[in-house]
Symmetry: C2
Subunit: 343 residues, 2 copies
C-alpha cells in the first residue's frame, strides 16, 4: 500500500527484538565485514554444543531453517521418494521435496493439532523416507509434549527420518522439546535464532542430529554462506539468557492480551506455545479473510492459515502493548465490516 | 596455530574494507534485525537495475556468488549433462555440477590465462550445456577484454549457457566487463559485493541475465535467505562510488608494491586485474608450497593455485601498506628457507 504497517503482526517475527548485547556485537563487527565469516561457525557451534552436552559434529549452522530444509531435501530426496507432512502446516519443506521430485503425502490435522500418530502411521503405510513435523505448530500455535512425540516415533518405519521443526520451542512449556539420544538416526531437529532470539533478519538456523547425517551437510552446503556478523550476533544472543527469559515473558503477556481482545469481540483465541495466536473468527475461511483484509486496511498486518478448517482463524503475533492496542482498535471495525458483507 | 595472522592476504578479501556509509547503514539497521529482510531485495535490485538501464527482472540477488552458482547448478544440471571449465580455475561451481551428476570437462590454461576460444570449442565438441569462465581469473589475476569474450562466444554450441564470473571486474581495466544485450540467452553474469565493495562477510552476490533465466531462480532459491542488514549495507556501498574508486586506487597501489617486493627478491609478479597478485616463485609447486609455508609460519596468510604449472606461484592479496610491509619482511626469509630444503 506504499506505507509501512502500523503494527507488523503477520510474519511471526519477534517484535521484542534481539538482545541489546547481540545488537552491540553486530554493530561492533560491522567494520570487519570485509572478512568472510567462519565457514565452520566454530564458535557458535561450540557454544550450542556445550549448552547441550553434545559434540560440534552434531550441529550444522545454516541460512535459517529454510536454508537447512533445502539442503536436507537436496541430500535425501530422490525422484519418487515419499515424504509425509501435515496438510496446512509450514510449507517450505514441501516446495523443496517437490522440486527434487519427491512425492508428498499429506495428513489432516486432528482438531487444530498436527497428529504425530497419524503422520507416522501414514509414513509406515507409504514407506516414507522422511516425515516433517513442526512442534510447536505453525500456523496454529498448538503443541505436543516431546515425550509423546518420542513415544509415537515407535510407529516410524525402518530407515525413516523425522524432521522435527522446533523453531518456536523456546516459547513453549517445559517438556515440549524432544529429548532423545543425539545419535538416534531417526531424528533431525531444526532450531533458529529468528524467533525467540529476535534475529529473523540475520538468517541463522541450526540442525541437531546424528554426526553422520549432520556431517553430510558439508558435502553440499554453501560453506561461506553465513553472514559474519550474524554468527557473532547469534553467539551474543545465546549468551544472554536473561533477555531470552524476558522475551518469553513478554510474549506470554502478549498471548494473554490477544486472548482478552478476542474474547472482548466474542471470538476464541486458541492456546498457543509460540509467539503468535490463532484467533478463531467463528465462521469460514472467506469470513476470516474478510476480517484479515479489514485489519490490513487499517494498518495491522496479520496472516491466516491456508487450509480448511484452520482457515477460519487469523494468526496474530504476540506484539508489544502498542501493537496490540492497534489490533484491539481495528478488530471490532474489521469484524463489523466482514459481517456486513454479502455471504 | 591458535593466533590471528599478522597479515591476512590469502582469502581474496578486500582489506580496505567497506564504505563507511555501508558500515554506518549496517550499524543503524542492527536493532531492526528482528524483521526479515525483503525476500525480493527490491531496493537493491532497483538500484542495480537503474545503474545499468536494465529491468529488475534481469537481476537476482543471492547469498554470494557461491550461493547463486549452487542455485544455477540445481536449476540446470541433470545427471549426465556436460559442463566445461578451466583446469585450476575457481572450483565451487564444479562441486555443484558434480553433486547434481553433471560431467565436467576441463580445458588447460593458455599460459596463465583462461582460454575462451578453447573453452567454447570444447563446449561445441562435447555438446556442453554450460561453460564456466571467470574474467578476471582467480587464482591467476589474468583477464581478457570483454569484447574478445563476446567474439569468442560465436563458437558456443546452440543452447549452451556461458556462466561468466565477474567477481573481480570492478578492479579491472575499462572494457573488461562483457557488454551484451541483457536478454541474450547465451550469457549469465555473476557479480558480488564481496570484493571491490569490501563486504565479503555480508554475503551479497547477484546475477545478471535474461529475464526468463533470472526469474527461474525464484522457483528454488531460499526466498528469505538474505540477511536484512546485508541488503541495506550493499545498497549503501553501491551509492558510494567515491569509496569504490578510492579502493580500486588503493588496490592498484598494492599490486604495484607486491610487484616491487617480488622483483626485489628476484621473483616475477604476474599482471593482475584483481585485488591479488600471483607471484611466480620460479620453480615448481613443491617449492612454491615451501615458500607459502614459510610465510604462514611468519604470520602472513597467503594461498596458491592448485594445478601445475600455475602452482609455481603464490597468490597474495593487495593489502594495506602495513600488510605488505610484513609480507616484504617475511618473503626473503621464506625464500631462503625454501631454497635450503632438500629437493
Amino acid at each position: 500500500m506504499g506505507r509501512p504497517f502500523l503494527a507488523r503482526l503477520g510474519a511471526n517475527e519477534n517484535v521484542f527484538g534481539p538482545s541489546p548485547k547481540a545488537v552491540e556485537a553486530i554493530r561492533s563487527a560491522a567494520a570487519d565485514l570485509w572478512m568472510y565469516g567462519d565457514p565452520e561457525s566454530h564458535d557458535l557451534r561450540g557454544a550450542l554444543a556445550a549448552g547441550r552436552g553434545i559434540g560440534v559434529e552434531n550441529i550444522v549452522v545454516g541460512e535459517g531453517i529454510d536454508g537447512l530444509l533445502g539442503y536436507l531435501a537436496r541430500m535425501l530426496v530422490e525422484v519418487g521418494d515419499t515424504v509425509v507432512t501435515s496438510d496446512g502446516a509450514y510449507p517450505t519443506f514441501n516446495y523443496h521435496v517437490a522440486g527434487f521430485g519427491g512425492v508428498l503425502h499429506k495428513v489432516a490435522y486432528k482438531g487444530d493439532n498436527e497428529d504425530p500418530d497419524a503422520l507416522f502411521a501414514k509414513a509406515a503405510e507409504v514407506g516414507a523416507k522422511i516425515v516433517y513435523l513442526a512442534n510447536p505448530d505453525n500456523p496454529m500455535g498448538s503443541w505436543h509434549k516431546g515425550a509423546d512425540i518420542v513415544k509415537a516415533m515407535d510407529k516410524l518405519p525402518a530407515g525413516c527420518l523425522l524432521v522435527l521443526d522446533e523453531a518456536y520451542v523456546e516459547f513453549a512449556p517445559e517438556g515440549t522439546a524432544v529429548e532423545l539420544d543425539i545419535e538416534d538416526p531417526r531424528l533431525i531437529r531444526m532450531r533458529t535464532f529468528s524467533k525467540a532470539y529476535g534475529l529473523a533478519g540475520a538468517r541463522v538456523g541450526y540442525a541437531l542430529g546424528a554426526a553422520d547425517l549432520i556431517t553430510s551437510f558439508n558435502k553440499i552446503r554453501n560453506h561461506f554462506g553465513m553472514n559474519r556478523s550474524a554468527q557473532i550476533g547469534a553467539l551474543a544472543a545465546l549468551n544472554d539468557p536473561d533477555w531470552l527469559a524476558q522475551t518469553c515473558a513478554n510474549v506470554a503477556a502478549g498471548r494473554t492480551e490477544i486472548a482478552r481482545i478476542a474474547a472482548q469481540n466474542g471470538l476464541v483465541a486458541l492456546s498457543s506455545a509460540t509467539n503468535f495466536v490463532a484467533v478463531d473468527c467463528g465462521a469460514d475461511g472467506a469470513f476470516a479473510k474478510a476480517v484479515l483484509d479489514g485489519l490490513v486496511t487499517r494498518g495491522v498486518f496479520v496472516r491466516m492459515p491456508f487450509v480448511a478448517p484452520q482457515n477460519r482463524c487469523i494468526r496474530v503475533s504476540a506484539g508489544r502493548p502498542e501493537d496490540l492496542k492497534r489490533f484491539a482498535a481495528a478488530l471490532p471495525e474489521a469484524l463489523t465490516e466482514a459481517r456486513s458483507q454479502p455471504a
